[in-house]
């Protein structure tokens, strides 16, 4: 009864991540061919690899959210909130940076839970609710910080800095943590009851509820996970820059969402891909710097970002429409 697995059937079953890998490989080929002197320089990739983990921390939880048939825009402000909690505790209350890290991530998780409760119990569309939360949290950060940055240069000599964002033979440590995050998220998504319930809820919430899946709790957990990812991203970013600033994270809003969809997770819910999102993050991160590295004006960056998003989404159309 079991189907024979061939290379072709494997590729067909994993067409979304495979095509995201293809887009990534295509872009890299174009970049390497156009500007070999820049793209064969390890330092260039070091610079990009410094940023990619931040995008991955944001994007992978978004895959869960989109699979569940929801959207969360507030992650870009939760990013700033968790980083503000961390930076404030370390700077003004002399907290140990590691404790500040833990509390900051918990702060992100709490914001996620509140976001989830707003959607579930407030019965507000997640698009609208998270848009409101995006501005609300950002506004709060402007007010409490008086629009001033917080420098946390003191974390430089702490063991946590070297462990989280130091260099290991020139390789950014945050890539190692992002890899662990990807593996955990992969198993959570495909092999854990939570991930399976996220798929069922995104596919057909009524059926899931009829079969005893706690739909509300699954939704709240999912938003919490998004808050945790944003917390990681915000604090890692602060550790890299030794600075928190009031608009921190805002620039990742559209790029993060783009990475999810370029990665092959469709908008309709019930399906998604973790590895696709990783390649999508790679596409977005390299596009940001690659265009300039190729010798084009930075003014073209958004144009090409848009172009690749549209082309990738058109490509993903070949994976078929929603099965009903």
């Amino acid at each position: 009864m079991e189907k024979k697995v061939t290379l072709w059937s494997y590729l067909a079953d994993n067409s979304r991540p495979v095509s995201s890998l293809f887009y990534f490989a295509l872009i890299m080929t174009i970049f390497f061919a156009s500007a070999p002197q820049v793209f064969f320089a390890p330092k260039f990739h070091q610079a990009v690899l410094t940023v990619i983990p931040i995008i991955i921390f944001l994007v992978i939880p978004l895959v869960f959210i989109v699979t569940m048939g929801e959207i969360d825009l507030s992650f870009a402000s939760t990013f700033g909130f968790a980083a503000w909690v961390f930076a404030s505790l370390v700077k003004y209350f002399s907290f140990d940076p590691f404790l500040g890290f833990i509390i900051g991530v918990i702060g992100g998780a709490v914001v996620g839970v509140l976001m989830g409760c707003l959607v579930v119990y407030g019965r507000i569309s997640s698009l609208v609710a998270s848009l409101g939360a995006l501005f609300l949290i950002r506004g709060f950060l402007f007010v409490v910080s008086d629009s001033k940055s917080i420098t946390v240069i003191e974390v430089r000599d702490h063991w946590m800095h070297a462990a989280l964002v130091g260099k290991f033979y020139g390789f950014p440590m945050q890539c190692f943590w992002a890899a662990i995050f990807i593996i955990i998220a992969y198993y959570l998504y495909h092999r854990h009851v939570f991930g399976v319930h996220v798929h069922h809820v995104g596919d057909n919430p009524e059926s899931a509820a009829q079969m005893g899946v706690n739909v509300d709790l699954t939704r709240i957990y999912c938003f919490m996970f998004c808050g945790i990812g944003a917390g990681f991203a915000g604090i890692f970013s602060t550790l890299i820059n030794f600075t928190w600033w009031p608009t921190q994270g805002f620039g990742y809003l559209l790029l993060g969402l783009a990475a999810v969809f370029v990665g092959g997770t469709p908008t309709w819910g019930g399906v998604g891909t973790i590895f696709g999102a990783v390649f999508g993050s790679g596409v977005i991160a390299y596009m940001e710097t690659g265009i300039v590295a190729m010798g084009w004006s930075g003014l073209w960056r958004q144009f090409f970002n848009g172009l690749i998003i549209i082309l990738a989404l058109l490509g993903h159309r070949f994976h078929g429409n929603r099965i009903r």
């Binding site: 198993y187 854990h192 009851v193 009524e206 059926s207 899931a208 079969m211 005893g212």
Partner: protein, 250 residues
């Protein structure tokens, strides 16, 4: 012997509409009960209240002699009551195996799923229910299956969970003759194993053939409770139903 499930004076309203009005019924061990009624009689609401999808506004739900509180779908499944809903309650983009184990996944510690065991069990079950296509295995998406095959998956889920009461809500709707016969075979098998079935149907001939007892529902009220001895033929059952709906003796 206590009934597996009993509803006592259960009412359910949606806004100003009374969908169930002091409905009482029970299902004993090893019997097939046919629940019939016209469109809008409240059959689906009754089922959804029975299995915890809708909490009742008033009345009692009694499981094996014990009154239950905060009755929900999870508790119903824990009490070995499985339902094959009219819409089949499937998630079409997910695999057969995920659908069969939906809400009752086989787990390791920390909530991780026993993937291999689930797939083996699902493959065994779908063979048992007669899936023979080499193109379909436990990892195939449910959305690629025919109507009858989807019904088979919904039924397989009920079988796997070793239910003591299986509720079938319009299980033969839109099925071919052969698929309908398969559903009948399934009900007879379940009964032969001493399990109970609550069979909801529009087709009185189907319900008559399969049931030991009949409950007629009209506008949210239980109007008749009849045993098969009380009703000589499906035609007589139709006559009783007609009289119930129109209020006129024929």
């Amino acid at each position: 012997m206590e009934p597996i499930i009993e509803l006592k004076n259960v009412s359910k309203r949606f806004g100003g509409i009374t969908a169930l009005d002091s409905a009482s019924l029970h299902v004993d061990e090893g019997e097939v009960v046919g629940l019939i009624g016209d469109n809008g009689a409240g059959k689906s609401t009754l089922i959804k209240t029975l299995v915890g999808v809708h909490p009742p506004d008033s009345g009692d739900i009694i499981i094996r002699g014990e009154k239950v509180q905060n009755w929900n779908t999870k508790k119903a499944r824990q009490a070995k009551i499985e339902t094959v809903f009219q819409d089949r309650a499937l998630t079409p983009q997910q695999s057969i195996v995920w659908n069969i184990f939906m809400g009752k996944e086989l787990r390791h510690s920390f909530g991780f799923i026993r993937v291999k065991e689930q797939v083996e069990e699902a493959n065994r079950i779908i063979r048992e229910i007669g899936f023979t296509s080499k193109l379909i295995d436990a990892n195939s998406p449910v959305g690629n299956l025919s109507g009858g095959e989807r019904q088979g998956v919904a039924i397989a889920r009920a079988i796997y969970n070793d239910a003591e009461l299986i509720i079938l809500d319009e299980p033969t709707t839109a099925l071919s003759l052969i698929e309908t016969q398969k559903v009948f075979d399934f009900v007879n098998n379940v009964k032969a194993k001493g399990r109970s079935v609550l069979f909801i149907g529009h087709n009185i001939f189907h319900v008559y053939d399969i049931s030991d007892r009949f409950i007629i529902l009209d506008r949210g009220k239980v109007i008749h409770k009849l045993s098969k001895e009380d009703v000589a033929s499906p035609e007589e059952l139709i006559k009783i139903m007609k009289e119930t709906v129109t209020g006129k003796k024929e």
